[in-house]
Amino acid sequence: MTAILETRALRKSFGGLVVTRDVDLTLEEGETHALIGPNGAGKTSLVNLLSGTLSPTAGDVLLAGEIITRLPSHRRARRGLARTFQISTLFDSFTAEKSLVLALLARQGHCYRLGRMAGFSCLRDEARRLLDLVGLTGRNLVPTASMSHGEHRQLELALALAASPKVMLLDEPMAGLGGEETAKMIELLRSLRGRYTILLVEHDMDAVFALADRISVLAEGRLIATGSPADIRSNAGVRQAYFGDDDGD
């Protein structure tokens, strides 16, 4: 097992407000690593620091042993760091297929191509395969704006997968999903286990304990524990900080 994504003493503050406090997080290659913590613990900020949407006040981010702290997010993406967003972040005027073809083309990091989009039929086939994979079979020509919320979450995941990433940062993929949709998403993520390195930010504890190889707990911007699901379940500090008076939300 080698560390593929690491942070070293990562810190982010906005004025006096510290949202990430000296976080040392390590993702091993191939693992599904869950990041949990109460609301406002700084989970999304940490994901944004990893993906390059935010730049840290101090500390470093390493991908496959190389420091990527100063790289903008598109350069990180090109190195194999894909992500989904807590609030669906999609191309509203595109069809699902067009979004995916673009994402597939974007793997090389540029799209200054002047052939017709529709002409890349090999990519279209691959796009449909990805849509099948995430459960959007037959929805390839539907404009994103007229898809349901659940479908948006599925498309988010498909876009991340299109990059054939080394690491996927999944920011609450289940956010806003109903019971049945959640179950489907858990199934889908389970099928990806082991094939990708995944950092899973999630509120749904059933999902977390069903999917995670390891779990890290964030509270007030600080990483307070990392361990196997069983360790975390029995960790007194975590129980106090996190499950204290409320069994997850």
Partner: protein, 313 residues
């Protein structure tokens, strides 16, 4: 579903446009030439507005620089369009690259205002050029020359402008169908996602800015060839406002909307000024009414009637 009548409408319009110089007098031809030139400029501005998703008040810089560069090269003795026009377009592209690199650091309202600042700077610069007649402007001795086509005949110039305009429309349609165009539009929809996919939004915005500037620059070249007289007002914020009016009268985001908007605007301005010296009030009221009462420009509304929900013709 009813039949899609947008293509027949387009063909009819194009046929009318081609027939015009053979049925109208040369005043009509000149008026129509101006409509098409402003239509091309409006199209360039709308490319940036609709596909890159940002509003620029600064595109008159490229209209003015295209026009002035053409005039200066012509007066320096370079007359061949095949030589002058590519040089001018390259110059406009470089200027757009420089302006875009600075302006695109900002966004939204700040972007609108920094582009306004650029037009004002160019305006005052041109206005201070004593060799070029200051605010009163200067006369350009002759049109550029082309092999086989005598541009000194207004009809030929009109036909050339029309063909170039159709070429620009085709070019935009083609760009939109390529991954490059898709990336530009994706950047408008969601820059964050584009960046998460490994594409640099800034690069696509900048490319879109330069591309739209070059279209406007081409309109500037044609402007000089049409009027043979230039004044710094070509770089004024007022003209920027008028060009945007043309865009929204016809409808943004469609290939014919800005062109037909320009035609309507020029026609209205011309007709209203025959009726009353207070024509500006009429124009202003029309603008307010268009924004308040219609959700989109008249061509886009019409296009939707003619076929389907897609506003892109």
């Amino acid at each position: 579903m009813t039949r899609d009548l947008r293509w027949p409408a387009f063909v009819l319009l194009a046929a009318t446009a081609f027939a015009l110089p053979f049925i109208g007098d040369s005043y009509i031809v000149q008026l129509a030439t101006r409509m098409l030139i402003f239509g091309m400029a409006a199209l360039g501005i709308d490319f940036f507005l609709a596909y890159v998703g940002q509003l620029s008040l600064g595109h008159t810089i490229f209209l003015a620089s295209g026009a002035y560069l053409t005039a200066l090269l012509t007066m320096a003795g370079l007359e061949s369009a095949l030589l002058v026009w590519p040089i001018v377009l390259l110059g406009v592209a470089l200027l757009a690259l420089a302006a875009g690199m600075l302006a695109l650091r900002t966004g939204g309202l700040y972007f609108i205002m920094i582009t306004l600042a650029f037009t004002q700077m160019l305006f005052f610069f041109l206005q201070s050029q004593r060799g070029l007649g200051g605010d009163e402007g200067f006369s350009v001795p002759q049109r550029n020359t082309l092999p086989l086509l005598d541009l000194s005949d207004p009809r030929n110039l009109y036909l050339l402008v029309l063909v170039l305009l159709l070429g620009v429309i085709g070019l935009i349609a083609w760009i939109r169908a390529t991954p490059f165009g898709a990336a530009i539009e994706a950047c408008r929809d969601n820059a964050q996602r584009l960046s998460a996919m490994g594409l640099d939004p800034y690069g696509y915005r900048l490319s879109g800015f330069v591309f739209s500037a070059v279209i406007v620059g081409l309109a500037g070249i044609l402007y000089t060839n049409n009027t043979l007289y230039l004044t710094p007002a070509l770089s004024g914020w007022y003209l920027s406002g008028e060009l945007l009016m043309m865009v929204i009268l016809g409808g943004s985001g469609s290939l014919l909307g800005p062109v037909l908007g320009a035609a309507l605007f020029v026609l209205l301005q011309e007709q209203l000024s025959h009726i009353t010296p207070h024509w500006m009030a009429g124009l202003g009221a029309l603008l307010v009414a268009r924004v308040m009462l219609m959700k989109d420009g008249f061509w886009n509304v019409l296009a939707r009637r003619l076929g389907g929900d897609d506003s892109h013709s």
